[in-house]
Assembly symmetry: C5
């Protein structure tokens, strides 16, 4: 599943694709030009020397390290929790598909098992569409029987309504004597887990890191970078713009990555490859009940986390 | 669900709304005026030069970074745990609503299912009111049958009493042969989870971060800020007030945010949007059992975490 | 439940009650006097100048920040885990009380349900007494029937013996046909959770943070503080004692708080308010089965975490 | 199970085997030669003095410590989570093997129990082969009956298909009256856990730490190391190359270890000893059902984590 | 259970017993002598002045703090996880003992319940012996009936075989009509937890922190300490050996503690008191079924964590 091959340590220094560098270039250019101006003016502003020594930068440095570290950990935790939720989705849908024919009297190849598996796949796609605010109609139409598709059209929380359908499927199966209460309860336990997954994804999507944190950190990072040339000009002279841009790059890039990871369900380069994961769930579920499987999603050069 | 649109990196530097800046302005003004006085007096106090070199500030810096980092992590963990508990509330009430008609013989549209769902919604609202110490009468009256509402009026722990009602509902349903023991046990398991959620919220609300921590940190931060001008005046001269206020802003703001997040169930700008979440639970539960749904809560410009 | 009202930021700087300052005063006085002596002697010891520059302090500072941070996190985790365990105790006893009349055929107001609830309350009090090594006789006598109270008197692990009684209660109820196996298993699951809570509390109470850590940290902090004046005297002169005491206060206080929180079940000011929590459990359980409830524990000005 | 004997503290300083030093030697040599050139040229580049003072290095240092610490924690967490998943695999397969003869009417030594145990062992090996992308044919052929082996050959997710077989085994056993629904549900619960383990391993294997992080960190570390001689040459003179290489070694090695641990299922020296663990699972499962056990995997001098 | 009484803050500075100081004395002596030599030679090596300024030490310091902090957290986590596992063992054996007479029809004092409890105690002791690679014969012989003891003698994984016996006990009980399927499943769930505990302990015991980490950290710490005198000699002169030894002590001791805690199941002073815990489990289980209890293990002055 892993596409990324280990880069040679030397070549990795000059990677362009897949770094945040392209996106940050304009800001770094502004920083470079500004630094050049400050060197030219010898660190004066309207003929008044700005006497910034390294001392304030050490103090700022402590604050910034603190803020950046916190922000980055919080963002990465969100990213990784999102990934765990989608991993749990894979596990639970596999378990439910297996239970649909081992805990009931249905045959592996029966229409009922197939319908239940389609519900699981439709559930997966509709969750992805809800998180990305895209239209699920295409996927739901190809996976669900027409009447059900129609009745879902106006639904606000489609994945929840599909879970209701699965619950009703278990009720129906028990009525038909395919099931006993124990087996139904076992499947119901996994439906509860699906409910936790839906809610967990909604929680991450709807509750960003408090906005004040973002503003405060953003200000600290950029002011630090734009004041840096005043602090370096006396000792570094014409090297100032280069050092400023390099130091600035590391801090600004760190903040930019944290910003991207914070919302793991989006479609930016480092977000979760929900397309590939949902297709993979479709493949493994269909294989489990012995049906032909579609092709996996092609590795997207813009997404590095999973092909 | 996400209202906040990505701000341009440059415009974000000058955001006013949603930062803690307005609230901190008076303190920063005091700091500014004080710094100006110290510059004017050349860092002397009663004609006696205060020879503060940067060395003590580095030492303080280590202590403060340590304290601020700890306080901030502890506060954010409380905020995020509170959010997780309300997320779990969403998941569990959805699961219970589903179980009320898939594990029993009740129809989706029966009066019993509807009553149970109303109990769940009333439970949600009464938990919010308990955490915010507001009066739940309005919400309980519109959701519950009159006799039940009356009997709850004097209750100390209303959410717990509503859980008791749900437990009695399952007992009643089993007596009426709508249920077997297995199904009742499955719903009972989810009632246990509700109990964990209530207790978890009460725990966060009733046990703040130990007060001595807050006092110690508060003192360290403010003394650091008010001593800073003495340390900077010799090298920065008339720039001292500006640098002091900027450095002070980052530290004081960081502490202020931690202070706000620490009690996530309040009504300050960065607290959890319990109004919107409880309304959302009402909507999704009613949709699950096929009833008309009310409007979601309008995005409150004072709350940034969820509309 | 929250008593503490938000202090004004300025008044909080001068709080006395509830900080660890009173307890640390003697040590800080020693430090102050010592510093004065060193300033008077110009940093010499037996006429030999102690040439401590700030460099060693920076090195020490890194070590100390590392140690203090670790110790503090470990202690706070223990405090918070202890709180979580007592929160879980609240949740589980509520769940068990509810189950005693919803999963059985017993009426809410029957003598059996009342007896079971008294067992739960007695369990709570006896756990508190075991953790604090106090005598549980008073509470057990008022809550339990005489024969049971007598038979428990010599018990080593009274909470465990009370759990046994609860288990036997479920066995009895099943024998009497008030219960089926499913219901008994559901209650048994919650008894398992009670067992986890007892064991978790015993674990925290019996396994302190390894003693070598405490010794090493203690030495580092105090040696740092007592050497500090030698490092500051040359640049700060008569300001040395004040700066030393202030810096020393922050470090010593941080260690003292960690030391207090480490054993959360004690009776020091920042320990968990087990009295108030166990009374609260008594109140909510009695309310659940419709009995009159006692008064809550009055807010103890020496305890800040819960009234 | 632990092979590594405690090294004497002095001898440990000169360990060669098992450190990442051999692998890093070429890079450190490049760094050494470069440093020598810079010392020879007195820190000038094309006759232009590069005036790098320690100040920028302190600033870089903060950034790098932040990045390295984050990367290292994230990698170690992945390593340890991978280890936990394989530990859970050991626990669950043991539990399932035990259940196959205690919850059913099958004898310990019956053919059915033996077949189920072989399924568990085959599951373990096929998971290892899937994670390492190696060919499972040899192991599956020796463990499974021919028809089953043939039917699995073309499977995409072989461990999942083997879980399906285990599910069908429980269905079969219940049909044959060896089992009741309760027992089947209990085993089904452990199959759910196996599903979680498979998914957890796939998640770690398919989702590396976001690539941008790696690039950013890699650049920061190497640029830091290659600029270091310019900063040290003035004060250290001919010692510069030695100090540079030693400092460089610690940072570069730290990054290299993080890089190795990040993918714990590979075959590099510090990766998880999946061969030894899967053999150990085979041994303990066979012993549980009273069959002769194979030899454990010999300690591989290239793997230090488990023999 | 807590033996350690709070030490006075002043006396604690001079504690000898229970610190790692005795063990580190030889290394610190080497360091002291070396420092003296360097002071005598004025920081020259073969008449060539080693111009180490504090700058490289600051850079090293960052690296070392990073490494030591990581190593220490990882080690303490292992220690605490080991403690949690043995705490869970206490909880689960208590729960199983209770279930053996509340979920079955057996009397509290019956031979079957007694036999099962002996199995639980034997399980506990055999796990301890396996983790410490000691001979379990003495304990198993006194606890188990002869035939069972003989059949276990050649077993590789004795705790697992004892779990098998417990599973067979439940099967037997059900055959004899003492049990229904539900009760057996409930006990089986706790046997699963025992399986998780065994596997968790084996995981910690068999997978040390990757060896490369240890080597890298060890080298960094000791090289730092042995280079320190060169950096301090110019400013501290004859104070150098004392400061070096004190700074060295803190770092070396921190590494030594981490090294001890890393393998929590050993018999070093800070390792877990498995003897006392297993005896405590024996006592509480025997008390639960009303049998006379042995004496607890005497507090071992070499072990500080639990008597």
């Amino acid at each position: 599943m892993i596409q990324r091959k280990k880069e040679h340590w030397f070549k990795m220094l000059f990677v362009w694709q897949g770094s945040v560098l392209p996106q940050l270039l304009p800001r770094l250019l502004v920083l470079f030009v500004l630094s050049c101006g400050i060197v030219y003016a010898n660190g004066t502003l309207y003929r008044y020397k700005i006497p910034l020594s390294p001392a304030p930068f050490t103090i700022f440095g402590v604050a910034m390290a603190l803020f950046l570290g916190f922000r980055n950990n919080a963002s990465y935790d969100r990213f990784w929790e999102g990934r765990k939720l989608w991993g749990a989705l894979l596990n639970d849908t596999r378990s439910l598909a297996r239970q649909s024919f081992t805990l009931t009297n249905y045959e592996l190849t029966s229409a009922e098992v197939r319908h239940f598996t389609q519900l699981l796949i439709a559930f997966t796609y509709s969750l992805r569409h809800q998180l990305r605010k895209t239209d699920p109609s295409f996927d739901l139409q190809r996976l669900l029987p027409s009447p059900l598709f129609e009745s879902l059209k106006a639904g606000l929380y489609k994945p929840v309504l599909l879970m209701r359908e699965m619950g009703l499927w278990t009720k129906e199966a028990r009525k038909n004597g395919q099931f006993d209460a124990i087996g139904q309860a076992a499947m119901d336990g996994n439906l509860n887990k699906l409910s936790d997954i839906v809610g967990g994804c909604e929680r991450i999507a709807s509750t960003p890191i408090p906005y004040t944190y973002q503003v405060l950190l953003h200000r600290t990072v950029y002011l630090y970078c734009f004041l840096l040339p005043f602090g370096l000009v006396d000792s570094l002279d014409w090297l100032t713009p280069f050092v400023t841009v390099f130091v600035g790059y590391t801090f600004v890039a760190f903040e930019a990555i944290a910003d991207e990871l914070e919302e793991p369900f989006g479609t930016e380069p480092n977000d979760l490859p929900l397309n590939a994961i949902s297709r993979m769930i479709e493949i493994t579920l269909l294989e489990t009940i012995g049906l032909p499987t579609p092709e996996p999603v092609k590795a997207d050069p813009e997404h590095y986390t999973l092909d």
